[in-house]
């Protein structure tokens, strides 16, 4: 799995193997480890989310200019802190009211700032506060917690730098002006707020993971960044089962990522994937995570999705897929997420566990909700083909083709239409 990070320019990540890619990967690792800690500490010290976040971003941009040329310093965290402090001085000099903050900033050694108690959790919950729009939560989390630059986020979401910059500015302004607290929620509030955080990470992961082979490598990096965030969350909240479930789910997807596309960049369906290429170590690791989560006795939607993905990943072949078990897991998932898309996935499990006739009955019920969704029609086409109704199957495939612009999916449908 490549984990590239572009340098200060606008160039996309170079392919793995080159020395540039090695530097990029090293930079990625450093930023992920250091940037969030630094932001969290500065925001806490300064009591100013906007300023704290901005200083770290400026330090990161500065590091992206210097490190590729001069090498990564021995203590990158200290380097970033020093730079952020220098930037802070520039900011604070202009504002006499900040004298108190200034003294805090100058007086605190790095070891104390990025100390034992990890307040990145506070940072994560603030960035993913429900008073912020989902896309703002996403952009802010990637920038403040991982230290991605605005340019990198823009590349990952296939949008412009100014769009992302504006999103972040607005989000930070809302945090400050509306009094969003810098705190980890407690008690029953925690469950709801944690759902919000998990949704943000899952969305970031999917944005990256579902990118097609031909799209920018930056999108792939996003999936890895999201996985890293999930890992951080598991580490910071070891007694919460759902982050374990989400991390397992991501690991299981990434374990199979290499076999999703053929040499020409064409999409390979799960049933046709070369299972020898799956990362068995990652799959076993995900299994352990799910066991740990299950032992906590609090099931949830991410654990269930992880369990479904594990059923697929652990089957020796497509024929050995445990469909009855998967069907039961989807039934339980529906209790948490009663959405048409989950029902569509359950219909696929019904088809494989019980046959095409009951699956088609279920699909008919979803017609109005999913008529604009290409995978609904592609699934219906398969079921109709099973039932020996090729003309209707063709019409459904045709409809699916009309509804998708994804080149890899189009190629697959066109092949099916002949």
């Amino acid at each position: 799995m490549k984990s590239g990070r572009s340098s200060s320019g606008g160039k996309p990540s170079t392919p793995p193997g080159s020395s540039r890619a090695a530097t990029d990967a090293a930079l990625s690792t450093v930023f992920r480890e250091e940037a969030g800690k630094l932001t969290a500490a500065l925001v806490r010290f300064l009591g100013d989310f906007d300023l704290g976040e901005e200083l770290v971003q400026e330090a990161v941009v500065s590091a992206l200019e210097h490190w590729p040329k001069e090498g990564i310093p021995d203590r990158p965290g200290a380097w970033l802190m020093t730079t952020a402090r220098r930037k802070a001085l520039d900011h604070l000099r202009r504002d006499a009211n900040y004298n108190r903050k200034l003294s805090l900033l100058v007086g605190s050694p790095v070891s104390e700032v990025a100390g034992e108690s990890d307040d990145r959790l506070r940072l994560i919950f603030t960035c993913c506060h429900p008073a912020l729009a989902r896309e703002a939560q996403l952009a802010l989390t990637l920038r403040a917690v991982i230290g991605l630059t605005t340019a990198e986020i823009a590349r990952a979401f296939l949008t412009t730098e100014s769009t992302i910059a504006q999103r972040i500015v607005r989000a930070k302004r809302k945090i400050v002006e509306s009094g969003i607290p810098y705190r980890v929620p407690e008690g029953h509030e925690l469950t709801n707020r944690l759902d919000e955080v998990l949704a943000v990470l899952y969305l970031a992961f999917n944005e990256g993971y579902l990118a097609t082979a031909g799209e920018a490598a930056a999108r792939w990096d996003l999936a890895n960044d999201a996985e890293w965030l999930a890992r951080l969350l598991v580490r910071l909240m070891p007694d919460e089962p759902e982050p374990h479930g989400l991390l397992a789910l991501m690991r299981l997807h990434l374990a199979r990522a290499g076999s999703r596309f053929d040499a020409e960049g064409g999409l390979v369906l799960l049933r046709d994937q070369d299972r020898w290429r799956w990362d068995r170590g990652a799959i076993a690791d995900a299994g352990r995570l799910l066991d740990q989560a299950a032992a906590m006795g609090r099931p949830g939607p991410y654990q269930l999705q992880g369990a479904i993905a594990a059923c697929h990943a652990m089957a020796g072949s497509w024929a050995e897929t445990p469909w009855p078990e998967i069907l039961i897991l989807y039934e339980r998932l529906l209790e948490y997420w009663p959405t048409p898309v989950v029902r569509l996935n359950r219909a696929i499990a019904i088809r494989n566990a019980m046959g095409p006739a009951p699956a088609l009955r279920e699909l008919e019920l979803l017609q109005s909700a999913l008529d604009g969704y290409h995978l609904y029609h592609a699934t219906r086409a398969e079921v109709l083909r099973d039932l020996g109704r090729p003309d209707e199957a063709r019409a459904a495939d045709q409809r699916a083709l009309e509804l998708t612009t994804n080149p890899a999916e189009r190629a697959l449908l066109e092949q099916r239409l002949g």
């Binding site: 009211n97 506060h129 008073a131 509306s178 607290p181 705190r183 509030e189």
Partner: protein
């Protein structure tokens, strides 16, 4: 921080059977009393129904009074409360406990003279 909770009604309480609306008004009264006593509510009011509203518009700088609320929807502003709480989460807690449901918009007030 001070916030305004703006209470939005999605039902016309004058059309709700009296037995039902009386229960609701009692609950609202309790909510108000409880949080005022706790010192969280600074002020506020229930408003007369939207049919009593008059809106002044400035058409090209010339003020004109017209009948009705400024925005014509099924949702109407039923009242407001000014609350003083440490942060947005506490303001949202209050809003979430509002008995009459509908919608509650939560907005910070502009506070001057405090650093």
């Amino acid at each position: 921080m001070k916030y305004m909770l703006l209470f939005v009604d999605e039902v016309d309480w004058e059309r709700v059977p009296e037995a039902e609306s009386r229960v609701m008004f009692e609950k609202v009264g309790q909510w108000w009393g409880q949080h005022s006593q706790a010192g969280l509510i600074e002020s506020g009011a229930q408003l007369q129904p939207a049919r009593t509203a008059t809106t002044v518009k400035f058409n090209g700088g010339k003020p004109v009074a017209t009948d009705g609320p400024f925005i014509e929807t099924k949702e109407t502003i039923g009242g407001f409360a000014i609350v003083n709480v440490p942060d947005l989460d506490r303001a949202l807690d209050l809003a979430k406990s509002w008995p009459a449901q509908g919608k509650v918009e939560v907005r910070p007030l502009v506070e001057r003279g405090e650093a």
